[in-house]
Symmetry: C2
């Protein structure tokens, strides 16, 4: 691996990017920072940047994958279900405008032999206990951002052929490249990227399409109907005061929801899907009236079979996202084993739940109202990539007039 | 440095020692584990051992020296004073018999230029907020143990002449040596050590001394009166149910309280004292009727001057502790820059507060009652070593009969 010049400066620029553009921390605000103990060094850089940006306080919540795995293995399910009141309060007491939330994430080789029931009990108990805080994020009260930190463990997944040190260096290079932190002025590069991304978002929302059609040389030939009042969201979001933030770093996508009953044709995945500890290759779905009626996969088909059977919405689509083939993530040519990166490498669809904000007024609607409006409901949300360098995307309006959206894998609007 | 054979096994034995003898974790109990992020690897070993010993749950509280220093530097004093209710509850809700508390500690090069007022405000606020939990430890409701973990940062203090890797290896060797973890069966070695230590403790408590006299070739010639009802405590303590635990690892001392008004003569320190970020060498005190009336030091005298002026008790003694010259810590010949180790290298005294348990019934007495009984009161408690290989300690009973306690630096009782 080539050594990254000024590595420390670039890592610091990455921390700055997440603090200043990601959560958009303002002087006098509290930064809640979630970080794995394996990434303590980078977390300290984030803390420095936050204090210098005028944070009132920095509250650090250390994550610990190894310790968490031991707990899942050994603790009784009642213990995992029992979230202490102070722990819930340690999130929910910060569901206020004065707080922004930055989550540093990293990947680990998936542990074998954990009890799926215990895993799900633990996750659900924690989700339920901290719902007011999550709600505050979803409603734009608490600005938030999630970004990844390169660690030796994650590198062992992405670069199994390299030694630990070399793999880590290669992965840091990818992280800094994909987040535009190898450029001279990452903040300016992001501002330009967001401006471009917002412009496409606005064009899509103004075009009056009722359907998108996708075709690729791999065999994709799919018509995706859009629900009435659909809204395409881009990389930048706005909080309840209209202040901007970027919830995902990197973020290249513009996405909305397909109509749950108006998807027809064939879609062929262009990248392997890593889901439920399984690598699924050669994935292909056939849809009829919104529902998967046939599928095949070279590996991992049994995992997809289970996914489709989870509930009444897990065989229908909840997200359609446009990502150009020249996306920085695509350019690395790597599978990162994390949706945060992999979904930004290519146009993708998600089986399962839609995001309420994908139609106007959706945040105020009940699940029943959303479903009636064509918005899919499910416990699942699993993204898979089908974008290719030859992908054609065509928008169709109510009069049947066709407009090129992507030609040769990239924006034509 | 010689490589330590079976290093991983010995480190695991050290974790076992702290879990099984330190906090004496029983099946079905909760382990509250405090650990610095720099020592995450060792903390994981402790977690494994605790789960295998049948812990009901392991609650980890990650410490972070670098982050804490940044916060002290940047946060306003009001922010440091404001301890959230959930944080206090995250300790105080565990002030119950079902919980044991293990604190992993490590040292760091002291940060320069921190505001002492902010440091003290932060420490006091946290101490006050978590007083019920501390009280539960002090009353023997929650068994606790504090032990050290070797880190590169601590090694840079103890072995400044070595490179990072070599220094860390040398310091791990010291930690494992001083805690008897280089022996074949560390648990058995500790059981034998505790039996010896308890036997001396019992002899001291049965001897009926009213005064101890200390003389050494360095110039120490000191008479230390003991308060009525004094009690010598050893390395092993017992909780409110009479179950044993070892609060300090390592622990070689047997200690009680001097009478606050009955200390006379000269004491000459035998090791440098590291206090308030300052190395104090060549320290010598003259006492009259319990109070320091004169002192000198080759370096750091101004720090001692401030210490003595802190309050009405900081120029009097709160602890007298007997440690034989053959103590494992003494044998390393090193200064560890942490009281946990350094005080176990030699006989020592502490300026400042006495421990209430050093007289019978002391835990139930008010500060005024304790002081009236001769037990010194102060905000400070600063240990300094004066033990030497030629130290003589003589016990004197009410009839004036003298009994050798130490000859040539070690036990003669």
């Amino acid at each position: 691996m080539a050594v990254i010049p000024d590595f420390d400066l670039k890592v610091r620029a990455y921390a700055e990017l997440m603090v200043k553009r990601g959560v958009n921390l303002q002087p006098g605000q509290l930064l809640m920072l979630s970080a794995p103990v394996e990434a303590a060094g980078f977390a300290h850089t984030v803390m420095e940047v936050a204090w210098e940006a005028g944070a009132k306080d920095v509250l650090v919540r250390w994550g610990d994958n190894t310790g968490g795995e031991l707990r899942l293995r050994h603790a009784a399910i009642e213990v995992l279900r029992d979230i202490p009141a102070w722990l819930a309060a340690s999130y929910n007491d910060y569901a206020t405008e004065g707080c922004v939330f930055l989550a540093l994430d990293t990947e680990f080789p998936p542990p074998a032999g954990l009890d799926p029931e215990k895993m799900s009990a633990s996750r659900i108990a924690r989700m339920q206990a901290t719902e007011p805080f999550t709600e505050a994020r979803m409603q734009g009260v608490v600005r938030w951002c999630i970004g990844s930190v390169a660690t030796a463990e994650w590198a062992s997944l992405v670069y199994p052929e390299l030694g630990a040190g070399e793999g880590l260096a290669a992965l840091w290079h990818d992280v800094l490249f994909c987040t535009r932190c190898l450029e001279d002025n990452p903040l300016a590069a992001w501002d330009a990227h967001i401006a471009r991304n917002n412009a496409y978002r606005d064009k899509l929302n103004a075009a009056g399409f009722v359907e998108l059609r996708f075709t690729s040389g791999l065999g994709t030939d799919l018509r995706v109907g859009l629900p009435g009042g659909y809204y395409f969201a881009g990389s930048q979001e706005t909080d309840s005061h209209g202040d901007p933030y970027i919830a995902n770093m990197p973020s290249e996508e513009i996405f909305s929801a397909p109509h749950r009953e108006r998807v027809d044709g064939v879609v062929v995945a262009s990248k392997p899907l890593f889901y439920n500890n399984t690598l699924i290759e050669g994935l292909r779905f056939t849809f009829k009236a919104g529902k998967v009626v046939d599928f095949s996969a070279d590996t991992g088909a049994e995992v997809i079979e289970k996914l489709l059977a989870t509930d009444s919405g897990s065989a229908r689509l909840g997200e359609v996202a446009l990502v150009p083939a020249e996306s920085l993530i695509a350019r690395t040519g790597k599978l990162f084993y994390t949706t945060l990166y992999d979904e930004n490498a290519a146009c993708h669809l998600a089986l399962g739940a839609s995001y309420p904000e994908s139609i106007s007024g959706g945040l105020e609607m009940s699940k029943e109202e959303l479903e009636a409006a064509g918005m899919n409901q499910s416990l699942e949300h699993v993204d898979f990539m089908f974008g290719t360098p030859d992908l054609q995307v065509t928008g169709v309006d109510a009069a049947g007039i066709e407009t090129p959206v992507f030609t040769q894998g990239t924006w034509a609007l």
